[in-house]
Symmetry: C2
Subunit: 317 residues, 2 copies
C-alpha cells in the first residue's frame, strides 16, 4: 500500500477532524505526501470537497459517501458509539472489501470488534492504523510496531487523563467532587464523565492495546473494569502517608486484562505520571520500556492520525 | 529498499554480534525475513559464512570482505574508534556508493561524520539505520522516526547508564569512588571508565540524536561536555536536602548542544530515572513525550540492530 497520493473520505468533523485538516494542509506536502480530502460525512449528511466548515452538499450515509467519492483511505474521527460501533463498522467492512485503507481515532469499532475488523483488513491486504485510539499522538500502538520481533509479555498503563487528573488533585488534598468539578471546568472531563470515571474509557483502550500487542482477539465486553468513584480523600491521604498513590491502572498479562485502581509506590514508573499525562509500560522478552506523554487533545489526536498516514505511506502499516 | 532477503556482512563479532546472530536465527524468519550472514570481518581477518565462534577463513580488511561477498547490507557492531572512525567510515563510504545499506551500533562514525555519511546514503538512496547507537534497543532514533511531521524543538536525556548508576548510588550515600567501584564490579563500568564519567559517551549519543532529530550537521568535536568526576558526596547530600538529584543531562535546544551535570527537581521527568536506566525527553511543536528504558546490554543492542533491519525491510528507513 506504499503510496504518496491519498484521496480521503473523512467520517466525522469535530475538533479532531478540523485539526487534522489543518495538519494535512500544513504538513503533508513537506512529507512528500499529496493528500486530498474528497468528502466529509457526518450525521447531517455529506460535504463533497474540503472546507473549513461543514456545509452539506447532499443527504446521505457514510456508505453513500464511499460510493460518491471512491477514496483510497477512510479516516474515522467520529465520536465513539459503544452500542454497536455504527456507522463506523459497516463503513470499514465495505471499505476494506473494496481495498480501501482505514485510519481511525475512534475507539468503539476496535474495542468492540478488533478481531473481525483487523483480520478482514489483513485478508484484503489493506492497512489499518489506529494509533490515535490509545494515548492520542503519543506513540503507543505505533511504538509497539517499532518493537516487532520482540514478544510483549505484559502491558500496564495510565490510559485515561481525566481520572489521573482527579487522582492527582485528590493527592494534593481535594475531595473527589472538588477534583471532578475542577476537571470539568478545565475541559479535562465531560459534563457526563461516566465513561471516564468508571474505567470504561481506559478499558476500551486496553482492549485495543491487548489485541494488538499480544495478538489476542478480545472484546471490551470481556474486560473487567472498575473506576475511581469509590476512592475517598481519606483513602488517598492514608496512601500518601505510606508514600503511595492511587492510580487507575490498565493492565494485561497472560489472560488477565483489567482496569482497576491500585496503590503504587515510588519505584513504579507509573507513580510519577501525574495530571492529565498518560503512560504505557511495555514489558517484552527483551526489555521493559515506558513512554509518557499527553493522551488527549484535538491537535494530539490529529497528530496520531497523521502519523498513521505517514507510516502507511511508507509501508510500515 | 523494501526487501525481505538480506545477505549481511558483519563488522565486529563481540557480544553484540553474537547476540545479533542468535536473534536473527531465532526471530528473522517469523518476521518474514530471510537474513544470511555471509561473512564476518574483525581485526584478525575474515570469516566466510556464519559460525557461532569466529574462525578466520582468510586475511583481509573490511573492504576485502566487501569485495569477497557482495552483501546487500553491512552491519557494524565493532567497537568505537573515536580517533578517526576507521575502519568503519571507509567501509561505509564504499558500501554506500555501491548501493549497500548500513546498520550500525557503533557510535564513532556518526558522532564524527554524521553529515557526510548520512548525506551520502541519501544521495545514493540507500538506508542507514542507527537506533542501537543511542539507548541501545530502547526506541530513541526510531521513536523520532515515528514522529515524522512534527518539529523537534528540544531533546533532553540521560544517555549514559554508567554515570546514572554512580549518581544514583551516591544519592543513596556512597562516595564517588565506592559507587564507581561497585559499577565496575557489576559490569556497568569499564576498567577504564573515562569515556563514561567525563561525559564523552553521552556527548557522542547526543551528537547523533541532535543531527537526526533537528536535521543538523554537527560533529562531536563541536559539542561541549563535562562529566561527573567533580561531584562529591557532600554536593549530592546537599541536593537531596533540597529534594533534588544530580543527573548527567544531555541536552540540545537551538544551537546549544551540551552534556553537563544538572540538579533536577521532582517535577522533571528525568528526576525519577535511576540506576542504569536511560531516558529521552523529546519536545516537539505538537507534544512532549518521554521514553525510559535500558540503554545497554548485548541483547538490547542486538535488538536495536534487529529493529532497524525490520524497519529497513518494510521501507520505513
Amino acid at each position: 500500500m506504499r503510496s504518496s497520493n491519498w484521496k480521503v473520505l473523512l467520517l466525522g468533523y469535530g475538533n479532531v477532524g478540523k485539526a487534522l485538516r489543518r495538519m494535512i494542509r500544513e504538513r503533508a506536502s513537506m512529507m512528500g505526501l499529496n493528500v486530498r480530502i474528497e468528502a466529509v460525512v457526518n450525521r447531517s449528511g455529506i460535504m463533497i470537497g474540503d472546507g473549513e466548515h461543514f456545509v452539506k452538499s447532499n443527504e446521505g450515509t457514510p456508505l453513500d459517501a464511499l460510493n460518491q467519492v471512491s477514496p483510497d483511505l477512510v479516516i474515522d474521527v467520529s465520536s465513539a458509539n459503544y452500542e454497536n460501533g455504527e456507522p463506523s463498522i459497516s463503513l470499514y467492512r465495505e471499505a476494506i472489501t473494496r481495498g480501501i485503507g482505514i485510519i481511525t481515532a475512534n475507539k468503539a469499532p476496535l474495542a468492540l470488534k478488533y478481531g473481525e475488523i483487523v483480520d478482514l483488513a489483513h485478508r484484503h491486504g489493506v492497512p489499518i492504523g489506529f494509533q490515535a485510539t490509545v494515548m492520542s499522538g503519543t506513540p503507543s500502538i505505533n511504538l509497539i510496531r517499532l518493537m516487532a520481533g520482540s514478544y510483549v509479555t505484559k502491558i500496564r498503563g495510565i490510559l485515561n487523563g481525566t481520572t489521573n487528573y482527579i487522582l492527582t488533585r485528590m493527592d494534593q488534598g481535594l475531595s473527589y467532587d472538588q477534583a471532578l468539578k475542577e476537571a470539568q471546568e478545565k475541559g479535562y472531563a465531560e459534563s457526563n464523565p461516566e465513561h471516564d470515571v468508571n474505567g470504561f474509557d481506559a478499558a476500551a483502550k486496553l482492549t485495543i492495546l491487548t489485541n494488538f500487542a499480544m495478538n489476542k482477539r478480545i472484546s471490551i465486553k470481556e474486560v473487567k473494569f472498575s473506576g475511581i468513584t469509590e476512592i475517598t480523600q481519606s483513602m488517598v491521604s492514608e496512601a500518601r502517608n505510606e508514600s503511595k498513590k492511587f492510580k487507575l491502572i490498565a493492565q494485561s498479562e497472560g489472560n488477565v486484562t483489567k482496569v482497576s485502581v491500585m496503590k503504587v509506590g515510588v519505584d513504579d514508573p507509573l507513580f510519577h505520571v501525574d495530571g492529565v499525562m498518560n503512560a504505557l509500560d511495555i514489558h517484552s522478552d527483551i526489555q521493559e520500556v515506558t513512554i509518557v506523554g499527553p493522551g488527549a487533545g484535538p491537535q494530539n489526536a490529529a497528530f496520531g492520525v497523521f502519523s498513521d498516514l505517514v507510516l502507511i505511506s511508507k509501508g510500515l502499516i
